[in-house]
């Protein structure tokens, strides 16, 4: 039997990537119109009412649009970072937080929450969490490369898990020096919050995410080959060390930027890549863009649910992603292999 293939299997997945992109755009455009307060499009874009007096426009442009954009940025970055870390560690259960990025960010945020008022050097929570994330990345990188050339995924995992534990201990120490209000704020930060109210956090995270994504663009095919194993990828001409370095630094940068905007929102980085793989297969040239777009759409919708489902009370968005993601995660573990 002879089969004649005329098109790469890649092309079959392209419509789905396009669909994910359309879904993301639709979600970002629709989300600002949906919320606990009804607003009218005619009022929002009314040329006769000054923006300063236009409540509908302010709800649209100050309260909801930055939120939708932040959700898209954070969701896309976390989903893409999840794909990259899973590929780098050759472990489908890896998440953007496996290598200690979120623990570093949490420690930074916690320091800012606890000492920020009395010691302004620590700066804003956003800046502090980003700094913490980058410190964690740096330490893990040093640990993983100290003994050998290249990044062994085992050593990376070990370094990441160790750092996670160490930073968690430091967090507890900081917590012990905090009072109730600060402990509560810290806990609330851990649950994620996308009500950014201004475009500034988005704009400051955007360059970092852009740098990370530029790196990811080169990674799609090397990640495919890494799935065969590092040696096998190397003998097929992949520069393993460089691919691993880009994956680790890019994934960490995207994660750190995302966490600085919305806190360590869970599950996006793991369930989105898995869902996408169920549909498009394993090719990272499809999985990476499709996850980015779908992750963005997913978090926009989750945030919409978080702010509307029991309005006027808001659920933390991390709770929504966990409620959706937890059962799905179990289903993946138990049902699918």
């Amino acid at each position: 039997m002879t089969l004649h293939k005329t098109a790469s299997p890649l092309r079959r997945g392209l419509p789905i990537v396009a669909l994910c992109f359309v879904t993301m755009v639709a979600a970002v455009l629709a989300a600002p119109f949906i919320g606990s307060t009804p607003i009218r499009a005619r009022e929002v874009f009314s040329p006769t009412v000054a923006f300063a007096d236009n409540v509908d426009a302010q709800i649209f442009f100050i309260a909801r649009l930055p939120r939708a954009l932040a959700a898209a940025l954070v969701g896309g970055a976390l989903a893409a970072a999840g794909v990259v870390f899973q590929g780098l560690l050759r472990n489908p259960l890896a998440t953007p937080y496996t290598l200690g990025v979120s623990a570093g960010a949490a420690l930074g945020a916690m320091l800012a929450i606890t000492f920020g008022a009395s010691w302004p050097v620590v700066g804003s929570v956003e800046l502090a969490s980003l700094t913490g994330a980058l410190v964690a990345v740096f330490v893990v990188y040093l640990l993983a490369t100290a003994r050998q050339q290249g990044l062994s995924s085992t050593v990376l995992l070990l370094a990441g898990v160790t750092l996670n534990a160490f930073f968690s201990a430091l967090i507890l120490f900081v917590q012990y020096a905090s009072d109730y209000a600060q402990i509560f704020r810290a806990l609330r930060w851990l649950m994620g919050d996308l009500d950014v109210v201004s475009y500034r956090p988005i704009l400051s995270a955007l360059p970092l995410v852009a740098i990370a994504f530029a790196g990811f663009a080169f990674l799609a095919r090397p990640l495919n080959l890494l799935a065969l194993g590092a040696d096998a990828a190397g003998t097929r001409g992949v520069d393993i060390e460089r691919a691993q370095r880009i994956a680790f630094l890019g994934g960490s940068l995207a994660t750190g930027a995302a966490v600085s905007v919305g806190g360590p929102i869970g599950f996006v980085g793991i369930i989105v890549p898995h869902l996408v793989r169920l549909v498009v297969g394993a090719d990272h040239r499809l999985v990476l863009p499709a996850s980015t777009f779908f992750g963005a759409a997913f978090l926009v919708v989750c945030d919409m649910i978080a702010r509307t489902v029991i309005a006027p009370i808001e659920l933390p968005v991390g709770v929504v992603t966990a409620v959706i993601g937890g059962p799905f995660f179990l289903w993946l573990l138990l049902g699918k292999r």
């Binding site: 039997m1 089969l3 890649l10 590929g87 095919r221 890494l226 003998t235 001409g237 992949v238 793989r277």
Partner: protein, 268 residues
């Protein structure tokens, strides 16, 4: 000589020497088996040839050029490795796995074209796995997996799509213990595939194995490796004498003689 290994020495930093000066050559079109017991340094030798490891001293030359001086992608177009066992991190289809062999032929953002697809399909057909193209790799049997990985390696070495003939250096296929994890039926399957590739397509093959019977049945030459040294080299019928096999596996020559007559002579 297509491949020359010159006085290869290797030790992991702080570890004992695994190879203690190994030299041999592989002629164009040969099917050579590196035979030795577990721990003799076979797999390390393969890693050194494929540049997955750097030798402590000595050289590996492919078509006259030192492999350490060849650009990564050029080396990958001339030399492909089939690992002992492949466990995928994600669920790729057979065709996707074979197309991964085209990596060194494509630019960074280039998508596989018709030439790459035809190289993949040719490789699948010559390994008898064309009908598996759309199957998930994970669902294949051990023998099928091994044949698909050989197809992926063949697709990697296929330069016909680019139109440049490889007169400067013929491609070399390396296999690490191709039958170690297979039962008899699949061993025979892989053995006949390798012979077919050698006889009909003149692919140069270097494989490692600890299986006397397999080496004797498929290889045109064998290299006996023991404790980091080459102890003999030549056609299997000449090299595999009871005394050498006894030395190689540290067994009584009498017993080795029995093994050889029962296992090897019967095959060849």
């Amino acid at each position: 000589m297509l491949l020359e290994a010159a006085d290869l020495v290797f030790a992991y930093p702080g570890g004992p020497q695994i190879l203690e000066g190994v030299s041999f050559g592989v002629a164009d079109g040969a099917l050579v088996g590196v035979l030795g017991p577990n721990g003799s340094g076979k797999t390390t030798l393969l890693h050194l040839i494929a540049r997955s490891l750097r030798p402590t001293s000595g050289h590996v030359r492919l078509g006259g050029a030192d492999v350490s001086s060849l650009p990564r992608r050029l080396l990958a177009r001339r030399l492909a490795v089939v690992p002992q066992e492949t466990v995928l991190a994600f669920d790729y289809s057979v065709l996707e796995i074979v197309l991964m062999g085209r990596y060194p032929h494509l630019g960074v953002f280039e998508v596989e074209g018709p030439g790459d697809l035809s190289a993949a399909m040719t490789a699948l057909e010559s390994t008898g796995t064309a009908q598996l193209a759309d199957r998930p790799f994970r669902t294949l049997s051990g023998g099928e997996k091994q044949r698909v990985m050989i197809a992926s390696a063949l697709a990697q070495l296929d330069d016909s799509a680019v139109g440049t003939t490889t007169d400067d250096a013929a491609p070399l296929l390396l296999l690490d213990e191709p039958t170690a994890s297979l039962d008899l039926r699949y061993q025979l399957e892989v053995a006949s595939l390798l012979r077919r590739l050698h006889d009909r397509r003149h692919v140069t093959i270097l494989l490692t194995t600890h299986d006397l019977r397999f080496a004797a049945s498929v290889c045109t030459r064998v290299i006996l490796l023991s404790k980091g040294h080459v102890i003999a080299e030549g056609p299997p019928t000449e090299v595999l004498t009871p005394s050498r096999v006894g030395e190689l596996y540290e067994i009584d020559p009498e017993m080795a003689s029995g093994v050889i007559s029962a296992e090897i002579r019967g095959w060849t």
